[in-house]
């Protein structure tokens, strides 16, 4: 009985060591999408918007999610005052719609994104984003993917240079 317990304990230790080692050196894959976004200065506005929209808990959940994350420069391209307006409580629904338009259910790595050239991917908001591969550049609608495959515990982040805006419902 004691031997069996020791063997089991040793087995668990080996498995634990293996799991830790498998993600060693990654730097992002043991953290959630939100934790990784918070850790980067380039996503300060995105994180503020996610908090204002009440999506922190959702994007910290199991997922997996694919997030097309706009940089600070991407938000800066929006007309002046847009972000300040969106984070107002009365505009929460609109903000949630915009942010969830940046989320695709599932973990879609860059190698799978490029296979969707000319096709559309359905977002968590309900609308679809178009994927285009042209002249070595991958675009989501009109946003260029500037960094891909930031692996997270609950999905993956692809960094984009333009905020994606869903078509407003008529």
């Amino acid at each position: 009985m004691k031997k069996a317990f020791l063997a089991l304990a040793a087995g668990i230790m080996v498995l634990a060591a293996g799991t830790q080692s498998a993600t060693a050196g990654c730097g992002t894959c043991d953290k959630t999408i939100v934790e990784n976004a918070v850790a980067s200065k380039d996503f300060a506005t995105l994180v503020a918007a996610v908090k204002a929209a009440g999506l922190v808990e959702t994007l910290s959940g199991d997922g997996p999610f694919t997030v097309f994350a706009p940089t600070e420069a991407a938000f800066a391209k929006l007309p002046k005052g847009t972000v300040a307006d969106l984070v107002k409580p009365e505009n929460k629904d609109k903000l949630v719609a915009i942010l969830t338009y940046h989320v695709v259910p599932g973990k879609v790595m860059a190698k799978d994104v490029v296979k969707l050239d000319g096709k559309k991917a359905k977002t968590a908001q309900g609308g679809s984003v178009g994927v285009k591969v042209k002249d070595g550049t991958v675009s989501i609608n009109k946003a260029k993917v500037v960094k891909a495959d930031i692996a997270c515990k609950n999905g993956v982040i692809h960094v984009i240079d333009t905020v994606l805006l869903p078509k407003s419902k008529k």
């Binding site: 498998a22 050196g25 990654c26 490029v114 002249d135 070595g136 550049t137 960094k147 692996a151």
Partner: protein, 248 residues
């Protein structure tokens, strides 16, 4: 006389493949690869676990790069295979210190004239990649594995002029000494496992006259999308078959 020996060498290579059917080079999706020194827009620093025939257990490799980029090319009157193979080379920053080993490898340049090589530590991990142009990129060819490039010590120059159809056009290049032996390796990266499909398929990397190869292009590999600026064409990888490790 030299070309005759080489012909019989290639014939021997084919025969070795047929006799050793479980590891047949008939699977090999590429005969020749040019190797270009590159500078990436985003330097990848990442740890993965790997194991080749020279690792008793899987081991974490700290990678940095890509430092080089490979593209399938035609040479020795053999057209480039389709789909074309692309590979990104990452420096292994923490190489395992290995004793020097004597191995027998049959490659398409030296043929049967000389099979012995002495190898040391693995200096690069070579990962299949895809070239991004317009439209969905070509799939990675079946049978193209992940490789570790082991430094070859005291490799004798083959002193050969080789016809090659490289990214710089058609022409002859002077092939010098063998620099690396690329052996397939298993890899574990996050929740993905890359198995070795053909354990005896390998490449011998030869030095060639360094030529300027300035261009900018985008690739996609297991670490995402990256822009690479090509600097110079430095080596050529030649398809080979691992025969035996004489150090055992």
């Amino acid at each position: 006389m030299n070309s005759c020996m080489r012909f019989f060498g290639v014939l021997a290579l084919m025969l070795a493949c047929v006799l050793n059917s479980s590891t047949s080079l008939g699977h090999s999706p590429v005969d020749f690869l040019e190797v270009i020194r590159v500078k990436p827009a985003q330097v990848i620093e990442h740890g993965v676990e790997t194991r080749s025939r020279y690792d008793s257990m899987k081991k974490e490799s700290s990678l940095e790069g890509p430092a080089y980029f490979s593209r399938g090319v035609g040479a020795m009157k053999r057209a480039v295979k389709s789909p074309r193979a692309y590979m990104n080379w990452f420096v292994i920053k923490n190489p395992t210190q290995l004793p020097k080993r004597q191995v027998d490898v049959l490659d398409m340049v030296r043929g049967g004239t000389s099979k012995q090589l002495q190898i040391g530590n693995a200096e690069f991990l070579i990962s299949p990649s895809q070239l991004l142009t317009s439209g969905a990129p070509d799939e990675i060819p079946d049978g193209l594995d992940i490789y570790k490039a082991y430094k070859i010590h005291d490799g004798k120059s083959v002193d050969l002029k080789l016809d090659i159809e490289s990214s710089l056009g058609s022409g002859k290049v002077s092939v010098g000494r063998p620099a690396y032996l690329c052996m397939p390796a298993e890899e574990w990266h996050h929740d993905e496992t890359f198995a070795v499909t053909h354990p005896n398929d390998c490449f011998v990397v030869y030095e060639i006259d360094e030529q300027s190869a300035v261009s900018t292009f985008n690739t996609i590999d297991q670490f995402g999308i990256n822009e690479l600026k090509g600097a110079s064409l430095r080596w050529i990888c030649v398809r080979a078959a691992f025969l035996r490790d004489k150090s055992k």
